[in-house]
Amino acid sequence: MSNTKQLPLDALHKELGGRMVPFAGYDMPVQYAAGVMAEHLHCRAHAGLFDVSHMGQVRLVPKGGAEATALAFEALMPAAVLGLPEGRQRYGLFTNDTGGILDDLMFANRGHDLFVVVNAACKTADLALMQAGLSDTTEVIAITDRCLLALQGPEAEAALARLVPQVADMRFMDVIEADHPEFGSLWISRSGYTGEDGFEMSVSDAGAEGFARALLAMEEVLPIGLGARDSLRLEAGLCLYGHDIDETTSPVEAGLAWSIQKARRAGGDRAGGFPGADRILSELANGAARARVALRPEGRAPMREGTVLLAQGAEVGQVTSGGFGPSVGAPVAMGYVPAPLADPGTELAGRVRGKDLPVTITTFPFHPHSFKR
């Protein structure tokens, strides 16, 4: 027997024809009957429902003032927490002492708490990190009785607004708490990881099946598996933790310096004071030695993770994520190369099954974002 865990909506995934595979310790649907390509294109044209309940949901509830919690949280990551307005969400990175990335996460200021969503594979370590760093000031509460669903795509707003009308007034990275008579409390953010407009929705285990079925009953909504989730986020140029970012990549190398607000940078009110600040602040000032770049292989052969990148026959880097982009209609990839080779237009080679095939550095994203800002 496998030792993977089942999602609360496991039976629904199987009923929908989900092909289940082990992922981050859970049995997860990699695709449904429609298949990866159709699911991907449907999400870009209409709306797709994703079950991301494997991810970690955590509440940070201040024991005293909210400022003490915000400052303790800031000691774990370079993002600014203090100053994040109530009702807003931000992307952050837990860093280590050498400036590498321990995980990427979302955190939302809901007034009475900070609601945090972390990656499934990192959630045990993240929880320990937050407990060690915040327990003096904050109750760190792991949420184990709620599902997390994402509804993504240009028709996501129209679909969700039938059940929760107030989502139509939200803009990108807004968060609300809504009470639904049938599905209970819904914690909704206008965000996602596909490059499309959409929502991420925390719902009680008890309310999740009814909520998912209500959305799936709508004409514009199809269930989307991990396969299309990966191709969508790849086309959007977004990083997959453990692949495109990890304990050895810094936020600056990864092109995620935008997630470090001015207050935490040199000259800011709360400059530094996060793990790895020496390296990260130095790279912000002087540039990093390497950079994460967008790669467009010539022809149709995908360059997948681990593909060696070469310049004039010498190995200069590797692909960290790559595959076929259904909306682009061609292979797309990302990886790291030395900074002098990172300019768009630079022509490199990728070694695919012993053959060196041309690949050109381009710009992110491969498919334009359509967030409702």
């Binding site: 990699v30 990866v36 390509m37 191709s231 149709r300 052969a301 995908p302 292979p331 099954r353």
Partner: protein
């Protein structure tokens, strides 16, 4: 038509054997986005990796089911790899191989035996 445990089919066409993958395999692989075919006139041995199929999700190798010489490949797959999904037993064929003795195909499963395998 005969079938391998690796979900390939073999069909005798004149003095050649045509090779492709089964509908079951095509469905399992999902949407195929790239097929790397062997060079014509390549000598292959049974179980050599001769074709690489890339789906949206992953790359898979197709093994040569027999010893022989590749004499023709399905060039249409270069521009339209989805033929493998659309018509795996027909337009989605991969290559034709010249063998010493066409009776090698008899080592492989009949359709009934294959259906039982995937049943």
């Amino acid at each position: 038509m005969r079938f391998t445990e690796e979900h390939e089919w073999l069909r005798v066409d004149g003095d050649l054997i045509v090779v492709g993958i089964t509908e079951h395999a095509a469905t399992q692989l999902g949407d195929i986005v790239f097929v790397e075919l062997p060079e014509i006139e390549t000598q292959v041995a049974k179980d050599d990796e001769v074709v690489v199929i890339e789906s949206v999700k992953a790359a898979s190798d197709i093994l040569a089911p027999v010893d022989g010489e590749i004499v023709e490949v399905n060039e249409a797959l270069s521009d339209n790899p989805a033929l493998v999904n659309d018509d795996p037993l027909g337009e989605g064929w991969f290559f034709k191989v010249k063998v010493d003795d066409l009776s090698v195909v008899d080592e492989y499963m009949t359709e009934d035996e294959y259906q039982e395998l995937i049943g």
